[in-house]
Amino acid sequence: MSEPCGRTFDEALISGYVDGTLVQGDAQRVQIHLEDCASCRALVDEITAVRETTISSAFATPADHEWPAEAPQSTASRTARRLGWPVLAAWAILLAGVGLLEAWRDADDSLERLILVAGVSGLSLLFLSVLLDRLKARKSDRYHEVHK
């Protein structure tokens, strides 16, 4: 590519030159051209000047009190969730217990009771496995140290 000013490289290299991101060969090519070309020099100067103007700007930022005090996570929602699950679990266990007791009392023969025992054992095993997983996960849970 050849430009009116005689430049043989992509004009975008001028930006790379200003930013100091060019590989040595490209930087040299630009450098050599700039020595002979006033218009590309002017472009370098202008990009540099605008950059100095923007980078030295400062904007009004919110004061500390304008940010939510309890950074950055919603602690309330996590506490609620942490409390919510045990409460729900307790309720479910209570409900299941009452139901089972009723069923046991109403059972007519030992076969029905056997079926109940089998069901409860199965559920207990499932619960136990979930519990073990949870306990294992708890060890790597970064939130469990919050209360210490």
Partner: protein, 194 residues
């Protein structure tokens, strides 16, 4: 908690991330204080209005910390946070049913958020120039505005810009140069030569 504050000021982002991963809440707080202002300013530069910028910055910080678990400690915090801010800005435009090309901002409002330097008398001319430049930045398309802002205000490296904009690093220089040329043209249109 108070004992950690002094050393947190000097802790690197990576150290703070590690501390946060191990459940130290004041590390999160230090990270938040360190980065939320630049998140706010980026949002302001993209949206042009303080209230929207504050909403976006707060949401972005929240998202930043809820995704902290999966944050790769080898990455740098600022580009990652800026990626989140950029997504939140786009979400806001989408919610308001603006097409991306409509993301123009009010140049007066943006320039009005500039803080005067310590010695306004001596620096009056420079500050006037800054206002003109930011008014012109506000008239750029958001694609051009974001790359100008990331490089020439937040001073991100080409690599970090590629990371935030999700473009190949080889594209950064040409896109940036196109944006700078456009900004130069806008300034000339407005009769400002920097």
């Amino acid at each position: 908690m108070t004992s950690a504050v002094a050393q947190d000021d000097e802790a690197t982002d990576r150290e703070l991330i590690d501390q946060a991963h191990s459940g130290q809440w004041d590390a999160q707080d230090t990270l938040a204080r360190r980065h939320r202002q630049s998140a706010f300013v980026l949002a302001l530069q993209m949206l042009g209005n303080r209230d929207d910028a504050m909403d976006v910055a707060q949401d972005a910080m929240l998202r930043f910390f809820t995704t902290l678990d999966s944050f790769d400690r080898e990455r740098r915090v600022q580009p990652w946070l800026f990626t989140i801010v950029r997504n939140q800005v786009r979400d806001l435009w989408r919610r308001r049913q603006q097409r991306p090309g409509d993301g123009l901002v009010d140049g007066e409002a943006l320039a009005g958020q500039l803080v005067d330097s310590a010695n306004p008398e001596a620096d009056l001319q420079r500050q006037q120039l800054r206002k003109s430049v930011w008014r012109a930045v506000a008239t750029l398309s958001e694609t051009k505005r974001e790359i100008i802002v990331l490089r020439d205000f937040h001073d991100l490296s080409y690599k970090d810009i590629a990371d935030v904009l999700k473009i190949p690093i080889g594209t950064v220089m040409s896109r940036l140069h196109g944006a700078r040329k456009q900004l130069k043209a806008k300034l000339e249109e407005g009769g400002h030569h920097v």
